[in-house]
Amino acid sequence: MDLSLYSGETLGLIGPNGSGKTTLINVVSGLLYADGGSLLFYGSRIDRMSPHRRSHLGINRTFQIPHPFYGLTVRENVDIALLFGRMKKRTDLEQKSEDILKLTGLSELSEHRAGSLNTSQKKMLDLAKALATEPRILLIDELAAGLNSNETEVVAGLLREVKKNVDAMLVVEHVMNFIKKVTEDVVVFDAGKVIFSGRFADAVRDGRVREVYLGTVRSS
């Protein structure tokens, strides 16, 4: 597979279950090492770099199943990412942490234990942690899954806001309505291969994409 993400781009990544979307995010964020091939970040290879160093470089992500630090408070969760992430100066720590909590709608819950949040709040905390490391590339793994249409609207708006502060964003999603709201550019995966790359509107008309999603289309 060959995939590039350009500065200023928001790329939607769609594909059926098991097509390798999350695996791709795992490989880029460093939780999995690729068996072969190469991974370049602004021109330099990062294939074997540990996840924390990638985080320092500016690669971060959210998880499909959120991974907050359950025993710590929401604020502590964000503070760790602020302290150990990319931010070098610690002078405006409190302000920063306040801003991120506000943006992700967690201000009211800042002193709650992360374990006590509901799923969509945990997803927001995942996003808040990722943002606190000041990423250049943000990988979003199914942020909208399980949200109602109202929440989906809010989260899509949030991502458009987040986009202003990062160089590029890769959004993995099952909910097509959500993708449409976030970006026009999509890549469709099937079994670890890119089968389509282009505008979302064209993707739904593409024969192979339809085949992957709906099964074989009989030629009449």
Binding site: H52, P68, I80, A81, T133
Partner: protein, 323 residues
């Protein structure tokens, strides 16, 4: 560079906590031997508090349970004894050097930190046995005394040793307090919660676990040196005791509350004194009772009694005012 992250992020309230730790400990170590006129009991108590705090740093904060953690204690004791016997080093320098040996050994064991859960616990036990077999080997009799033990009574000074041990027990509790309030401590707790996700927050899980491991082994080594000095003579089994200096300490920490500041101290004081009392009546039942206690603790109060203690303190001294 990274050491700046050891500094306090929140120095508030630290003096209250420090006082709450030091005052009762000072009272215990000064008044204790007057009530129960057996200094050795309080000497051991001081040593156990240091061990509990050392274990808490690695097990409590990072969630990694080294079952063979007593190896650093034993190496500290041996390092001290060897330097005094063979090189006639002064006691203080010997104890510090012994603790440095323990820390060096822990560095040698750092590859184990790549393991987790039961694998880590078991590999640390294997490491313990390996080091024990080396120190007790007859081939090394010229250095370690082998199975015949090592004597260094020339520097024997139990009163001075007791005083230093009592002070250092309080210091080790303060070290835990400082860690828990530092950004380093928060990073360790995050590692305990999720050692993969913590990497994405920019924390090198392996590096911070190694720091915790080093500090823990150094404190254990100091405890070992002080204990060895108090004995003046010991067989390998006396310091390489998996039950006495690993399992018991784990029970103390679990009982008190792992990952807390007060828990290990409270747990050690209560259970160690209970242990001494029980041993007067039914020495045979001791390990059975403590074994059952360990199972019950893990099943029913995995967070230990520290939360209960906190509630009691809050009831007696309601928040507000000085708190």
């Amino acid at each position: 560079m990274n050491f700046r992250r050891f500094f306090l992020s929140n120095p508030k309230k630290i003096s209250t906590d420090a006082a709450l730790l030091i005052v009762p400990l000072a009272a215990l170590f000064i008044l204790g031997p007057m009530v129960i006129t057996n200094q050795a009991i309080f000497m051991e108590l001081a040593v156990y508090i240091m061990l509990a705090d050392a274990l808490n740093i690695v097990y409590g904060f990072t969630g990694y349970l080294p079952f063979g953690f007593g190896v650093f204690f034993a190496v500290g004791a041996y390092g001290t004894a060897i330097l005094i016997t063979h090189d006639a080093w002064p006691v203080g320098a010997s104890i510090i050097a012994g603790a440095c040996f323990a820390a060096l050994l822990s560095l040698l064991f750092t590859p184990m930190l790549r393991l987790s859960g039961a694998y880590f616990a078991i590999s640390s036990m294997a490491a313990f046995e390996a080091v024990y077999l080396i120190f007790s080997n007859t081939q090394l009799t010229f250095l370690t005394g082998g199975p015949y033990g090592i004597t260094f009574t020339q520097v024997y000074n139990p009163n001075l040793d007791y005083m230093i041990a009592a002070i250092l027990a309080a210091v080790s509790a303060l070290v835990v307090l400082l860690i828990s309030k530092s950004t380093f401590g928060i990073a360790l707790r995050a590692i305990r919660e999720d050692r993969f996700a913590v990497e994405l927050s920019g924390v090198s899980s392996l590096r911070y676990r190694t720091y915790a491991w080093l500090i823990s082994s150094f404190v254990s080594g100091i405890a070992g040196g002080l204990y060895g000095w108090y004995l003046g003579f010991f067989y390998p089994e006396a310091v390489f005791s998996l039950t006495d200096f690993s399992v018991l300490v784990i029970i103390f920490v679990l009982f008190g509350g792992r990952g807390t500041v007060y828990g290990p101290v409270i747990g050690t004081v209560i259970l160690f004194l209970a242990y001494q009392l029980l041993s007067l009546y039914s020495a045979n039942l001791l390990l059975i009772i403590f074994g059952v206690l360990l199972v019950l603790l893990v099943l029913f109060i995995p967070n230990g009694i520290e939360p209960l203690f906190r509630k009691i303190v809050k009831t007696i001294f309601p928040p507000g005012g000085s708190d």
